[in-house]
């Protein structure tokens, strides 16, 4: 399990493009792994390396000025496309702890929350301002649901309450489900006809 998270203060890395899909976040050719580990090197692979596999000069993710930045600010509809959990695995392994956008795709959001990567959806205006200033130091207060930066940026966001609790306290959704085995067994008994044997 991941570390509980309350607040996060870090510089940002900005990828302003809209509709950044999971094939950009981690190309399918890296999905043949049977492990969750070590995928950070493949994060945004085709944006960071040229055809020959050499580091791309203009990579927005690799310059020394981005070192240690744990907040990704991305264009709208971030994480659209496939359900591959390899996407948040790769981002977390790369060093990200939060993704900020005006609009984050559903399955990605759900996957991110299960891996200690906080999806932060904020209003379009604040989002646009953050997109304009890569590297800016941003503080995300999960408990309060507030993102701030300097004196002039403040935006509110919500996280599904259960997922929020899991993030804050390091709770485990699978444990929540296994604690309800009796209810599940009762459901199966009651619905045996409808749902088949």
């Amino acid at each position: 399990m991941f570390e509980p998270m309350r607040t996060l203060t870090s510089g940002t890395i900005v990828l302003a493009r809209a509709n950044i899909d999971t094939d950009q976040i981690i190309p399918a050719r890296y999905l043949t792994t049977t492990s969750r580990e070590g995928l950070g090197k493949h994060a945004f692979h085709d944006w960071r390396y040229d055809e020959a596999g050499a580091p791309a000069e203009d990579s927005p993710l690799d310059g020394p000025e981005h070192k240690g930045h744990a907040i990704l600010v991305a264009g709208p509809n971030f994480g659209c496309g496939s359900s591959r959990e390899h996407a948040p695995w790769a981002l977390v392994d790369f060093g990200f702890r939060a993704v900020v956008s005006s609009d984050i795709a559903d399955i990605f959001k759900s996957n991110a929350l299960k891996n200690g990567l906080l999806p932060v959806e904020i209003d379009a205006e604040t989002h646009a301002r953050l997109l304009e200033c890569p590297g800016r130091e941003v503080t995300i207060d999960l408990e309060a649901g507030v993102l701030t930066s300097g004196n002039d940026i403040e935006a509110h966001f919500t996280v599904e309450p259960f997922a929020k609790k899991c993030l804050l306290e390091g709770n485990d959704p699978l444990g929540f489900l296994t604690d309800r085995m009796d209810a599940i067994t009762a459901y199966e008994k009651d619905h045996a006809k409808e749902i088949g044997a």
């Binding site: 050719r29 049977t34 309450p161």
Partner: protein, 472 residues
């Protein structure tokens, strides 16, 4: 009684523990489909925690994503793209064996793409909740099932508990009235809808497709439509079950033994008159032309007869640069390098018939590679029984073994940098079909016509009526 939608009814039936402010609903899952790519880490979690698979009988596995579409070599070995791909396949075989899960594996006559075989075997049924670690699980909604894609952590949850923690999404009804014109099919309808509501227009919603144009679709067409729901951002796409659904399912291997009782239950599922939706969208089906995409997001879709639009935003300019579609030029001027007919969107028998109708007696343009990949072993057998493979082979196309193939390129079926691929799959994302590959999404007839023409082509120019006037 409050009027309920199909979605409301499916949801209510499966709530084990209701949703509260603090916690999502515990939702029961009737059928869990798994494949080699998104399951190994879930089985590892089970092992780490010492948990068993709760309902191996409700879990079905297939091999599709990393599997080669070329036949085994003389040594009997399948030509896997990488050793890791082969290892992934071996892992699923081992995991299913260890946990007593039925696997439709290599050599099994029932194997195929997960979203093709579920319906084919009759595992997919109206009223069921169906999940899979694959976003195109929405396909199964064509039968009036509540079906959606999940991540690997959730695959683990379902393996261990047969349940998921879910908040109920909002609902949207997309109504398409009228009759699709000749030459247009379900894929064109899907692309027209996505162009209308946007790649994130369905975000947070469960979609129900309704209206006379949707009712008129075959089950294959409905599957194509629901398959593409996720390309509009919606995890769920559904069509209410009706006679078309029941006729299609009847007699299939895994349908309920008490068929009549099942059908009478399924008849209660369609949305009640006056059911409320959070959002309504209406489209005119008779205006749906054969569509293609010209950008790098599925909502960049337009009629094949159109011209590349002016790129107004930074996004659109980036897409236009990548696709090399010059503003104002007709789409049909774009030369094609490769054509892919396959994927869980368009690899069923009716899709192959559509493509074959265009390719019959014609030849793939020189310099164009055309790949036809049936969605399952069953589709392959049926297509071969009709001689469709001969039509493709005579035209100069390749006829491959079933699998996901160029839809995702994990098995090594990819294009070369810079190539333009007209593809019947579902995603035109940058690099999806190989690094630097430019993907144009289209229906099977348009893809086949483009293979013959050597450039993006209007399938209506290749319909039989155009070359062989009917004998009256």
């Amino acid at each position: 009684m409050m009027a309920k939608s199909l979605f409301d009814k499916l949801w209510e039936r499966h709530v084990v523990v209701p949703e509260t402010g603090d916690s999502p609903a515990v939702l029961y899952i009737d059928l869990h489909l798994i494949h080699e790519v998104t399951s190994p880490q879930a089985f590892s979690v089970l092992e780490e925690r010492g948990l068993a698979v709760r309902r191996p009988d409700r879990t079905k596995a297939t091999l599709d994503h990393s599997t080669p579409t070329l036949k085994a070599g003389a040594d009997g070995r399948l030509p896997y793209a990488t050793a890791q791909a082969e290892k992934q396949v071996e892992r699923l075989i081992a995991n299913t064996k260890a946990h007593g899960i039925e696997l439709f594996g290599i050599g099994d006559p029932r194997r195929g793409i997960v979203h093709v075989i579920g319906p084919e075997l009759g595992l997919t049924q109206p009223g069921k909740t169906i999940v899979c670690g694959d976003s195109h699980t929405s396909t199964h909604g064509a039968f009036g099932a509540l079906a959606f894609g999940i991540g690997t952590t959730e695959v683990g949850h379902v393996l261990a508990t047969q349940c998921l923690l879910q908040r109920k999404p909002r609902s949207m009804r997309v109504t398409v009235e009228g009759e699709l014109p000749p030459g247009s099919g379900a894929k064109d309808m899907a692309l027209a809808i996505i162009a209308e509501i946007g790649a994130d227009g369905g975000q947070g919603y469960a979609l129900e497709f309704a209206g006379s144009a949707v009712r008129a679709l075959s089950m294959e067409g409905r599957m194509t439509l629901c398959n593409m729901a996720i390309e509009a951002g919606a995890r769920v796409g559904m069509v209410a079950p009706d006679e078309t659904t029941f006729d299609w399912l009847k007699g299939r291997d895994r349908v309920p033994a008490d068929w009549d009782a099942a059908v009478s239950d399924w008849r209660t599922l369609p949305s009640d008159e006056g059911a409320r939706f959070d959002k309504e969208v209406v489209l005119n089906g008779s205006a749906v032309a054969p569509m293609i995409t010209y950008g790098v997001s599925p909502d960049a879709a337009a009629p094949v007869t159109g011209n590349a639009p002016r790129a107004e935003t930074a996004e659109a300019r980036h897409a236009a640069d990548y696709m090399k579609f010059a503003e104002g030029r007709p789409f049909t001027e774009q030369a094609v390098d490769r054509v892919f007919i396959g994927s869980c969107t368009n690899s069923r028998l009716s899709d192959l018939r559509e493509a074959a109708a265009v390719m019959r007696g014609r030849t793939v343009a020189s310099g164009v590679t055309a790949l036809v990949v049936p969605g399952s072993e069953a589709v392959r057998r049926d297509a071969e029984a009709e001689g469709l493979h001969i039509i493709f082979l005579n035209a100069g196309a390749e006829w491959r073994e079933p699998g996901c193939s160029m839809c995702i390129g994990m098995n090594g079926d990819i294009g070369q940098p810079g190539e333009l691929v007209v593809s019947t799959s579902n995603r035109n994302f940058i690099g999806r079909q190989g690094k630097g590959v430019r993907t144009v999404l289209a229906g099977p007839a348009t893809a086949a016509a483009s293979a013959i023409a050597g450039h993006i082509a209007d399938p209506r120019d290749y319909l039989d009526a155009a070359r062989e006037p009917e004998h009256v």
